[in-house]
Structures are given as structure tokens and as C-alpha cells.
């Protein structure tokens, strides 16, 4: 009972993976291609929301194919060096399995290299991880699987990832499939569960199989049987239910005082709620007058938030809350037409997706600012727009800036707004030899040494 059910009931074969028949078939076909010695893509990317079975599918695949596995996930330190080492271990000296059994590559013994949570290459510790992943994909002699929630976060850094991998999308399984799987687990654990209870757990999990299994285990703890009433102890994993009804009261209701009341019953801070109001306001208030009046009141609310924080006078929060709920609600003169689902604040997603970009920007600007007696903030606002253009047209200037500021590939890619493996970035780091040779003689090179690749400013 103490063992985590999500581990105990991980599918051992692809046949047992819940839902996603197409993804499973694609994955199997890819692996068989590898087995036949003609892997048409060396790496596969499994993408999809959390808990839908990506990791399980990868492990089940290895089991089905009789492959060993080399795994790396977010809890490991994924520096470039660590990834290179894994790649080496997995691909070059592929002679022993984890159990010490000798495997000859010719006899088909393979290891599946799994990089879990590959889109979370955040933070300075993961510096250089991206080029290492690209090296791995290019050079591997073993099948590689990258697992991501957000393919965009990974692929925007490098077009190689897009072009040289097979992308397989996992969907959220339907509640009915999850419910069926839960029934099998309950039976195996000797817990009698009625259908309504399992359906309710599956429904709450909203497509996340791992969450469903975990909830089942949590409810079954110390019980022989579970009912729908037991299952109702579970609360949803987030507060969106409340947030959605608050949004409805503000944007679609016509009672400002009811909106104010709804605001008070949501257990979230006003500055967070302001982001929700902000996200949905232009989608709900399509009339220009409503839009501008709504924003006026939201803007007033934000001023109260600012004053609250600056003066540490938390009474003012109440005014902020009233203005963003009752104030925005009362701003409309037209009946709202929208029936769309309310949205999660896009800005928060943008910010979390761009965390790495922002870190890279900060370090690039700091390095450049150190070479030119100017603050990083001013480099970002006044210098980079020009530098980007000049450097785009001049390889030798790119090299000079890289060398004098000590930029790495990622930072240069940010400065140039290009992929890390694009020509514009790679060329600045390669052919050091020709550079040195050219330095000796008289430079014949004019200001624009690559007329063919010249860019006009309108192309940027």
C-alpha cells in the first residue's frame, strides 16, 4: 500500500497505455524503423499535457522492444556536460545493460535515451544544455526520446529540433477511458469501488491519468470500498472553478454588487485577479465604449494596488478589488455576446515561457554593457536595435562583439533574434583559424564583407 500506485501500475507494454492509439502506433513504427537499422528520424519528441502517459509510453516502448534505458529528468542537473556524458554512456559504449548483461550492438542490443521534461531547460544550471541536446540528436547511435509539455519552448531555440525529430502528440484521454483504467487498479488492489465514484475521480482529473490514479490511492487509503460520496471529498486541483464564476459575474452579470460579492469569495489576491480581468476584458467587451470604460476602471484598480504595496497599507486592497469587480461590471452598456470559455491570463504563460529568454537577455546586455560604459538597461533600449542590424550585416563585427563581450551562443542568438544553430550565430563561433590568418595580412574586407547575405532594414 505504501508504494505509489502511479509507479506500480505504470503500463509495461504499449498495449496497456491508456488512450492515444495514434500516438502509440506512431511510436511503435518509429521504434521498429530503428530496429530494422533504418531509423528515419533518430529522435522522437513526445509532447502533451502532464499526466497523459508520455513517460509511461516511452518506458513501455523500451520494454516491448527489449531495449535498455538511459533516463534523465528535471531533477538531474542537466548541464551541457551532463547530457554529453549521458549521450556517451548511452551510445558509444553500448555493451552492458543495467543488469550487467552483455549486449552487442550487432545483435540488436540498444539503449533508449530518454530526456524527460526537456522543455524545462531553465536556469543557469542548464546553460549549454540546448547545444548538447542538438549534438545528441545529431550524433546519436541510439534511439532518443525527448519528452515535453510545450514543444514550442524547446523548438524555438533551435530549428534542428524541429527538423530532425519525429513529433508525436499525446492527447488527454477521455474520462471514460480513465475510469475504466481506475476500475482495473481498484480491482487489483482489492478495493470495491462503485462506478459513480470512479467516474467522479476521472472527471475531476480532467485528462490527467497520473492525477486520477493518485486521487484513487488517496481516497482508498484505509478503506475497503469507496463511493461517490467519498470521491466528492476531492477538490479540483486548482481554483479555476471559482475564478470562472467570478469572471462570469463581472463580465456577463448585470449586478455590480453581486460581482463585488463574488470577488470576496474567491481565495486569490487582487493583483492575481486583476490579471484574469485584464486577460478577458477585451474578449468580453467587444464594444469600444465598454472596452475603454472597463479599462478605465481596471486602471483605477491597479493604482490602488500600487498604493497598497508602496505604503504597505493593505486596507486599500478593498478599493482595488471593488474597482476591478463592481467597477468593470458596471462599465458595460451592451449585453455581452461572448459565450467563449474564460481564459487563463496569457501574460503569465508568456512570462513563464520567456523566463529563459529574459535571463539570456539580462546576461547578454550585462556583458555588452561592460564593454561600452553604458548600463544594461540602456543597452537593451538604445544600443541593441542598432547593434543587431550592424552585426547582422557584418561577420567580423559579430566575431568582434562575441570575443570582446564574451557572449556565448545562446546570448548571440538572443542579440541576433536567430536560432542558436542558424548560420548567423554559428559563423561567429567557427573558423577561428581563418580569422587569425586574416588578421596578419592587410584586411581587404570592407564594411560589408558578405554582399550576398546583406539584409535591408525592412527584413528585420
Amino acid at each position: 500500500m505504501s508504494e505509489d500506485w502511479t509507479e506500480r501500475y505504470r503500463p509495461s507494454s504499449l498495449d496497456d497505455v491508456i488512450g492515444n492509439p495514434k500516438a502509440v502506433a506512431d511510436l511503435r513504427k518509429w521504434a521498429e524503423g530503428w530496429h530494422a537499422g533504418k531509423g528515419y528520424k533518430k529522435a522522437a519528441v513526445l509532447m502533451g499535457p502532464p499526466g497523459v502517459g508520455k513517460t509511461s509510453a516511452a518506458l513501455a516502448l523500451a520494454n516491448d522492444m527489449g531495449w535498455g534505458t538511459v533516463e534523465m529528468n528535471a531533477s538531474d542537473q542537466r548541464t551541457g556536460g551532463a547530457i554529453d556524458e549521458i549521450a556517451l554512456r548511452g551510445s558509444q559504449f553500448n555493451t552492458f545493460t543495467a543488469d550487467g548483461e552483455y549486449l552487442d550492438e550487432k545483435s540488436g542490443g540498444r539503449k533508449l535515451i530518454i530526456l524527460d521534461e526537456a522543455d524545462n531547460l531553465f536556469g543557469n544550471a542548464d546553460r549549454g544544455a540546448m547545444p548538447a541536446i542538438v549534438r545528441l540528436i545529431r550524433g546519436t547511435k541510439q534511439p532518443v526520446i525527448l519528452i515535453v509539455n510545450d514543444f514550442y519552448a524547446l523548438s524555438r531555440k533551435s530549428s534542428v529540433i524541429k527538423s530532425s525529430t519525429l513529433q508525436i502528440r499525446f492527447q488527454k484521454p477521455r474520462a471514460s477511458s480513465i475510469s475504466k483504467a481506475l476500475a482495473a487498479i481498484a480491482a487489483a488492489e482489492g478495493v470495491s469501488a462503485d462506478r459513480a465514484a470512479l467516474d467522479s475521480i476521472a472527471e475531476t482529473a480532467a485528462g490527467d491519468v497520473r492525477a486520477a490514479v493518485r486521487d484513487l490511492q488517496a481516497i482508498s487509503l484505509g478503506r475497503d470500498s469507496i463511493t461517490a460520496v467519498d470521491a466528492s471529498e476531492l477538490s479540483g486541483r486548482d481554483v479555476r472553478g471559482d475564478m470562472f464564476s467570478l469572471m462570469a459575474a463581472i463580465f456577463r452579470g448585470d449586478d455590480p454588487m453581486a460581482a463585488r460579492q463574488a470577488m470576496r469569495s474567491v481565495d486569490e489576491s487582487p493583483d492575481h485577479i486583476a490579471l484574469w480581468v485584464d486577460e478577458n476584458l477585451p474578449r468580453e467587451y467587444r464594444d469600444r465604449g465598454d472596452l475603454v470604460r472597463g479599462y478605465e476602471n481596471l486602471s483605477r484598480a491597479d493604482i490602488f494596488l500600487g498604493r497598497t504595496m508602496r505604503r504597505r497599507h493593505f486596507r486599500l486592497w478593498a478599493y482595488a478589488g471593488d474597482m476591478m469587480s463592481a467597477g468593470v461590471c458596471s462599465a458595460k452598456r451592451n449585453r455581452p455576446a461572448s459565450r467563449d470559455a474564460f481564459r487563463f491570463p496569457g501574460y503569465l504563460m508568456t512570462m513563464s515561457r520567456s523566463r529563459k529568454t529574459r535571463q539570456t537577455r539580462a546576461s547578454a546586455c550585462a556583458k555588452i554593457s561592460a564593454t561600452m560604459h553604458t548600463s544594461p538597461a540602456r543597452v537593451a533600449s538604445d544600443v541593441l536595435p542598432y547593434l543587431r542590424l550592424s552585426m547582422g550585416n557584418s561577420l567580423s563585427l559579430r566575431r568582434a562583439v562575441v570575443r570582446s563581450a564574451g557572449l556565448d551562443e545562446e546570448e548571440l542568438a538572443y542579440v541576433m533574434e536567430a536560432d542558436m544553430d542558424s548560420d548567423v550565430v554559428r559563423s561567429a563561433f567557427s573558423h577561428e583559424a581563418t580569422e587569425t590568418a586574416a588578421k596578419g595580412g592587410k584586411r581587404a574586407e570592407g564594411p560589408a564583407e558578405h554582399p550576398a547575405s546583406q539584409k535591408s532594414l525592412f527584413q528585420f
Partner: protein, 319 residues
């Protein structure tokens, strides 16, 4: 070897500094007497504040200048404590050669809060025996009175067209670039007294080809940022609020511009917008109010969006 021209051609001596004679003549006297008070340099960007500070230090200490000169950015060293730590460390050792004090140059001093400036003032007091401070800012009025009263204040003016043209001509010669006369005039005009902008534009123009003509300059002046800002304004005026908001996010997140940077550029782009003069005036009033709210509020993005919503409304009434 290629370099960033603003650095390559930054004047090394006070004699080479372009314009600002009223400043450089005083600074030269300080070099001769090996003495100087605390200084406050104020003026717009690209007028030579940092260059003068560097040249002054070179003049005072010759080859020893690097060990005697500390450069700090008020806007980046968040927290006055970090600044104080660096100053303390720097002031621990005696000055080498030349003058009997070291020089601390604090750029963008007006980015410090009032409290931080008060702390800075105490620090200046404490180390004034060993160190002289040069503070640089855009607006003297943003510097607290007690600091102003302890400094000799020098106002830097936007460079005039003759000065800009003379300096650009030197670079043109040094780099072997060919430039048409009217193109040079165009660069100077677009720079509006900002030498950094003039030199940067020249380098971009030169990177496009060996010969710079008016067309090249015209392209160069339609640079990256302002174009994106006017794009955003036009989206809003056209009634596409969500599109304008996406552009705003891109500018803020990917380019790292602050709300203040953006509203400054919005303010500068009004005159090109296809709206009536009456609307322009109303828009200026609203923009001023929004800038105030950015300072006062907590989320500058929400405030900028309120401005975008206002633009959407102006756009619809213009039709």
C-alpha cells in the same frame, strides 16, 4: 578589426570631446590643478557625459586611471547597499599617482529613489576625503537638493549639427566609407543632437553597403523599435485591441523595454498618426495621465492597455 564604433571613436582626451566647451574648459582646469569638487553632469542621452568623465579620469591619472576610477550604474545596481559595498571596497586603498583622491562615476543617478539618494549622500559625505563623485543624470530636478548643493552642476546640451557632422566625417574617413553629402546631413538630422544615435546609425548604414546614400539613411532611420511601437499604435487605432496587446507583450517581454521606455516612444510617435490634431491633443493628455498611473500603479502593462483601449476608441470616432 571591426569594433563597435561608439567605443572605437569615443574621445580619449578632453580636447577631443566634441561640443560642450563650457564644460570641458572647466574640467581641464581641474586636471591642471589636480583637484575637483563633486560633479553633477546633467543632460540628454548621447551628449558626452560618460565620455567627459572618462576623459577627465585619463587626464588626472594617465595610465593609472583604471585603478582610480570606478564606474557604477545606478539603474542596475538595485539597492543602494550593493553600491555602498562597492564604494567601500574601492575606497579602501589609496589613490595611485596623480591626484590625491579617486573618482567614482555614478551613471543614471536619477534612477535612484529618494531614499537611495539620501543614503548615497551619506556615503558621499563619509568618503569625500578619499573620493570625488561624478553623478550623471538626465534631469537635475530628479536629484535631491542636498546632493545638488554638494556638487558643481554641469549641463550638457544636445550637440549641434555642425559638431555631429564634424565627428561623423572623421569616422567616415577612418573607416574608408563613402557617403553622399545629403546622406550625412540626413544622419545628423535624424540624430537630434544625440551622438550615440548618430554613430550607431552611421555604423548600421555602413554595414548595408560601401556607399551610403540618402536611401540607406532613410532605411536606417526606420529602425527596429520605433517601427514596432508605431505598428502597435496603428493596430489599436484600427480597432484590433488584442493584436496591439500581443505586440505590446512582445516589446515588453522580448525586448525588455520598461513601461516608461514604451510610453516615451509612444509619445514620440504621435505626430505621425493618422488622426486629427484635436485627437492628438486629447491623446497627449491621456498619455500623460497614463504615465503618471504607471508610476503610481502596480502593473504597468494594465496601464498601457488602458491607453490602447483609448486609442481603439479614438480610432473608431475618426472614421
Amino acid at each position: 578589426m571591426q569594433e563597435i564604433w561608439t567605443e572605437k571613436y569615443r574621445p580619449k582626451t578632453l580636447d577631443d570631446v566634441v561640443g560642450q566647451e563650457h564644460v570641458t574648459s572647466r574640467l581641464k582646469a581641474y586636471v591642471e590643478t589636480r583637484n575637483m569638487p563633486h560633479l553633477l553632469f546633467s543632460g540628454p542621452a548621447g551628449t558626452g557625459k560618460t565620455t567627459c568623465a572618462l576623459a577627465l579620469a585619463r587626464g588626472m591619472y594617465d595610465n593609472e586611471w583604471k585603478g582610480n576610477f570606478l564606474e557604477l550604474n545606478a539603474s542596475d545596481e538595485r539597492g543602494i547597499d550593493v553600491v555602498r559595498g562597492k564604494i567601500k571596497e574601492f575606497a579602501r586603498t589609496a589613490p595611485l599617482g596623480g591626484a590625491p583622491f579617486k573618482i567614482i562615476f555614478m551613471d543614471e543617478a536619477d534612477a535612484l529613489t529618494t531614499d537611495a539618494q539620501a543614503a548615497l549622500r551619506r556615503t558621499m559625505e563619509k568618503y569625500s576625503r578619499i573620493c570625488r563623485f561624478i553623478l550623471s543624470c538626465n534631469y537635475v530636478s530628479k536629484i535631491i537638493d542636498p546632493i545638488q548643493s554638494r556638487c558643481a552642476i554641469f549641463r550638457f546640451r544636445p550637440l549641434d549639427e555642425g559638431d555631429l557632422k564634424g565627428f561623423l566625417s572623421k569616422i567616415v574617413e577612418g573607416e574608408g566609407v563613402v557617403i553622399d553629402d545629403d546622406a550625412l546631413d540626413g544622419l545628423v538630422h535624424v540624430a537630434r543632437g544625440d551622438m550615440r544615435r548618430a554613430v550607431n546609425s552611421l555604423q548600421v548604414a555602413a554595414s548595408l553597403g560601401k556607399r551610403i546614400d540618402m536611401d540607406t539613411v532613410y532605411q536606417t532611420s526606420g529602425m527596429a523599435h520605433p517601427r514596432r511601437v508605431s505598428e502597435l499604435l496603428n493596430q489599436a487605432l484600427g480597432g484590433n485591441f488584442i493584436g496591439a496587446r500581443n505586440s505590446l507583450d512582445e516589446i515588453m517581454v522580448n525586448y525588455g523595454l520598461s513601461g516608461q521606455d514604451i510610453i516615451r516612444q509612444i509619445h514620440a510617435s504621435f505626430f505621425d498618426l493618422p488622426i486629427s490634431d484635436g485627437d492628438k491633443v486629447r491623446l497627449i493628455d491621456k498619455t500623460g495621465e497614463i504615465e503618471f498611473r504607471i508610476v503610481e500603479g502596480s502593473n504597468e502593462r494594465i496601464q498601457l492597455e488602458a491607453l490602447l483601449a483609448y486609442l481603439v476608441m479614438i480610432g473608431s470616432s475618426a472614421k
